[in-house]
């Protein structure tokens, strides 16, 4: 039976089900397939906070949202397609579906038990409890169909039921007119030593696909336009992955061994996990006893001449505060990554937030300015991390990278580089020239001190956290010297603004109606909001700040063209404090503190209210 084909610009699908339903795997497979197909895309996983939340409950719902098409900035505000494997997942997500959106329901997930677990009142038809009239609903008994398909295998019921996600995936592939081959290859790798399970999964995947063909369910299939991407090699990438790849690349290009030290914490742990798989690339990873040991051991490694890195999140970053002061005083290179999560305190460990900015900028005893950089998307993590390594080594300074949970676990296509195309590093280990007197705190024209690593003859010296004399490097409590050193260390950091790119407009120009200033993971949603606003005739400028300390030199120049300055942040207003202090402009905040990203309509509405 042939069906109508429609071509669309963008589609957002939300896969939802119990955390045991294999939602993340199905979502991940669809993402890879989509990327391969050439769509632009952005994803947002939503894990339950508990390791194994009780089956069937609202707390146990796992979600995976993907937005894909010809131009994509965010995982999508509302979704076009919602897959709900059980009652709880429908209850939790139904409000995210746009009007006339498509719902695919696994009817056996709506039995009495599931309804009770989802705390939905009893009724004859379970679906009476949902207001489905504005949606296109497809009820499929996926559980039953899967079991029927596998009834002649040796598998246990539990194993059979675990294949349900392949049915959904196959069906979705069919709807979007895709080949199932990428997933077959994946399954072959995953289950290469268990043929029974492999065959079952493939069989159900095909069943799902064929169900589309044979059933009367859909009256149309969709083609989603691929993105016109510039020439190059692409892959999908998560933010934490990109950080790891940047670190390994920086290690290779700088010819310094990579030493990574961390203590597990959500959502930074994956950096430790991934790097510990890179031992074949000369990477040392150290799971320290706590975050203090993590940063201190990294400081030790940096002293020894390694490219040293540590990462953490909220509470763990707080613990690194004292040692951050030390490494600042030592003037040793160090990369500190904060994958931010909802705070304060333990807060909302599995949710995203941008609320550690002021801590990064100001949160130390004494005058201790440290460069702070922030990537704007998963793939941008590569560039920002790589540049952070370059700056850390060139300027003998710690650099803080502020990522967040949304970037860390979100995926997007990435036009990845080859190693030879990456910029070279500029730093050197001090060697003594003939008859020179050595002082570890002697500085070059950029105020950068000598890096003399243990093992180098004749450069024996001791450094520490006490103030030191500018001339000799010895400990000094002299009043004038202290002031001089504070000013020099500040000047060194300020001077980095001469080595970072000038601030560019992401949208608009000095002639635009107003300007939006943003940083971190809000980049995508602001871009898509501005595009939407453009359709309504608004001309909005946007600068997205990747380098927060020091700021690019030309920001003041840019801001003077604007009367209306909006600063949207996923916090209670942090960057805006810096902007107002530095430039004395009446910037206006837009804040969302819900552990989740902005929706574009929130930005659009705010902009409209400011301009009308």
């Amino acid at each position: 039976m042939s069906k109508i084909k429609k071509t669309l610009d963008n589609v957002t699908i939300l896969f939802a089900g119990d955390s045991g339903d294999g939602i993340q795997l199905a979502g991940g497979q669809f993402t890879n397939n989509t990327a391969f197909y050439g769509n632009d895309l952005s994803t947002l996983p939503d894990f339950p906070a508990e390791i194994r939340a009780p089956i069937g409950t609202l707390a146990g719902v796992s979600g995976f949202q993907i937005n894909f098409g010809s131009k994509v900035f965010t995982p999508g505000d509302n979704c076009d397609v919602l897959v709900a494997m059980n009652a709880a997942s429908l209850k939790k997500n139904i409000n995210k579906l746009r009007e006339r959106g498509i719902i695919i329901l696994n009817t056996s997930g709506f039995d009495k038990r599931n309804m009770r677990l989802a705390k939905i009142p009893d009724s004859d038809d379970p679906f009476d409890n949902f207001d489905l009239k504005n949606f296109i609903v497809h009820k499929i008994d996926i559980t039953k169909l899967t079991r029927e398909r596998l009834q002649n295998t040796d598998l246990e019921k539990k194993e059979i039921d675990r294949c349900k996600n392949m049915f959904v995936l196959g069906f979705i592939y069919w709807i979007f007119n895709r080949s199932i081959n990428s997933t077959i290859i994946f399954l072959e790798q995953k289950f290469y030593n268990n043929k029974n399970i492999l065959n079952a999964n493939i069989s159900v995947l095909k069943a799902g696909y064929n169900y589309g063909d044979t059933s009367e369910t859909f009256s149309s299939r969709f083609d989603v336009k691929p993105r016109k991407m510039k020439k190059g090699s692409y892959r999908n990438i998560l933010g934490n992955q990109a950080i790891c790849l940047a670190l390994v690349s920086a290690s290779y290009k700088s010819k310094l061994d990579l030493f990574y030290s961390g203590y597990p914490i959500t959502p930074a742990s994956d950096i430790l996990h991934q790097l510990s798989k890179y031992k074949s690339f000369g990477v040392r990873t150290f799971q320290a006893e706590d975050e203090i040991s993590a940063i201190c051991s990294a400081i030790g490694a940096s002293f020894g001449g390694n490219l040293a890195v540590t990462a953490s999140s909220g509470p763990g970053m707080a613990l690194k505060t004292e040692a951050l002061g030390l490494v600042f005083m030592l003037e040793l290179p160090l990369i500190i990554i904060n994958v931010q999560r909802g705070g304060p305190s333990t807060g909302l460990p599995t949710k995203t937030e941008q609320s550690d900015l002021l801590q990064a900028v100001y949160g130390r005893n004494g005058e201790a300015p440290i460069p702070v950089f922030a990537p704007s998307s998963p793939s941008d993590c590569f560039l920002v991390t790589y540049n952070a390594c370059k700056i850390a080594l060139k300027f003998m300074t710690p650099v803080i990278i502020l990522s967040d949970g949304y970037i860390a676990n979100g995926a997007e296509p990435w036009n990845f580089p080859v190693i030879t195309d990456l910029e070279d590093f500029e730093y050197e280990f001090k060697k003594l020239k003939f008859s020179e007197k050595f002082n570890p705190y002697l500085r070059n024209e950029n105020f950068v001190r000598n890096w003399a690593i243990p093992g180098t003859k004749d450069l024996e010296h001791t450094i520490g956290g006490l103030e030191k004399d500018n001339d000799s490097g010895d400990v000094s409590y002299e009043p004038e010297n202290h002031q001089l050193m504070v000013k020099i260390r500040q000047a060194k950091v300020n001077n980095i603004s001469n080595f970072i790119p000038d601030q560019k407009f992401s949208s608009g120009s000095t002639n635009s109606d107003m300007i939006i200033i943003s940083w971190g993971s809000t980049y995508g949603v602001i871009q898509s909001s501005i595009n939407e606003l453009k359709k309504n005739g608004y001309d909005i400028a946007h600068i997205h700040i990747n380098y927060i300390v020091p700021l690019p030199k030309n920001i003041e120049d840019i801001l003077k063209y604007f009367e209306i300055i909006l600063v949207p942040e996923i916090n209670n207003g942090q960057l805006i404090k810096i902007i107002r202090d530095k430039f004395l402009v009446n910037a206006i905040p837009l804040n969302k503190i819900m552990g989740i990203p902005f929706n574009s309509h929130e930005i659009v509405n705010k902009v409209k209210s400011l301009l009308n």
Partner: protein
């Protein structure tokens, strides 16, 4: 093994030493500077890492590499340095407050991980640098600036604690026995693995005489016992006392007693964790050993794998640029032309 024709002066520098006159730290500095010329390691490969405290100023006075880090964290800094630079000869300098109060956790973790480095724990049973508060090794009832009515914290027994943390080399020395200290320093340095030496150090300003029991000529021999491997436990003014093991219970015996022979005595065995545990409690008032002499020397030594070696074993540095390009590309990539 003499190397590079170093002598003591090569390890001293021109920094003014800022310890109080009479401080026990001077002796330790000197013993360390004395043994380094003979350990066969070039000066530029030697690194001293300290925390904060009077004792932790030590690296400033050494003509080697050094870091005066932050309070309690020298052990953590050293862990990162040694595991990433196994070629270096690393020494941790720490005080009783630095290592056992704020830094207790990093210390026990370093001991269990067993990196090949040496920890010199300057124990003066007081906080020197902050001018005289009690420390985790101060005795019960001690009156100090922060305990005007006497301390109520049961002190740590650093040797027992280290044994509990699986240290692979544990010894004790004292500032006033320089020769013995040098010997222990050399053995500690020869040991592959983390060597912990607790060094009694007199703070003549805030805790003068804390160890006079073990330094005063009149009674030091009765109060201390110097351990030698495979030798019987003998002590006393006239070397006239011995220690015997009655099953699991140690007894002090009089060697003048004709029924007692040296053959019956406890033979020190550095490899025995059981014996080391008992030895560590000698003179500990908590455990009916208060009459026993305080042991000096090597309590325990054990061969165990070193963390940095195991780390290195898992690592491969021989990859090509191509391997790295493949890693970046991942399993699933595509080209837009």
């Amino acid at each position: 093994m003499k190397n590079n024709n170093y002598n003591l002066k090569d390890f001293a520098n021109d920094q003014e030493i800022k310890w109080c006159p009479g401080c026990g730290d001077y002796s330790i500095l000197k013993q360390v500077q004395s043994i380094l010329p003979n350990i066969g390691i070039s000066k530029e490969k030697i690194v001293f890492i300290s925390g904060i405290g009077c004792s932790s100023r030590f690296p400033y006075y050494m003509n080697t590499y050094g870091m005066h880090s932050i309070h309690g964290r020298a052990t953590a800094v050293a862990t990162g340095l040694k595991s990433s630079r196994p070629d270096l000869n690393v020494w941790v300098i720490t005080g009783d407050g630095d290592s056992l109060s704020i830094g207790g956790n990093h210390l026990i973790h370093l001991l269990r991980r067993n990196l090949d480095l040496n920890i010199l724990l300057f124990n003066n049973e007081i906080y020197g640098l902050t001018k005289g508060q009690y420390s985790p090794t101060s005795e019960l009832g001690k009156t100090t600036k922060s305990t005007p009515l006497g301390s109520i914290d049961n002190p740590f027994n650093p040797i027992s604690l280290s044994l509990g943390a699986d240290a692979s080399f544990i010894a004790r020395a004292i500032d006033r026995e320089p020769k013995h200290m040098r010997q222990i320093l050399i053995e500690a340095n020869n040991h592959r693995g983390t060597s912990l030496i607790e060094i009694y150090q007199n703070c003549n300003i805030f805790n003068d005489g804390a160890f006079s029991k073990f330094t005063n000529k009149d009674f030091k021999k009765n109060n201390s016992i110097y351990l030698e491997n495979n030798k019987p436990l003998i002590f006393g003014d006239e070397n006239d006392k011995g220690i015997k093991l009655d099953g699991i219970d140690p007894l002090i015996v009089d060697l003048n007693d004709k029924n007692i022979s040296v053959e019956d005595l406890w033979i020190h065995d550095q490899k025995s964790i059981e014996k080391a545990n008992i030895l560590s409690r000698f003179s500990d008032i908590n455990y009916n050993y208060s009459k026993f002499p305080r042991p000096f020397g090597i309590f325990f030594q054990k061969k165990r794998k070193c963390y940095e070696d195991e780390m290195l074993n898992q690592i491969n540095f021989n990859f090509t640029e191509d391997d790295l390009n493949k890693l970046i590309a991942g399993d699933l990539s595509w080209n837009i032309k």
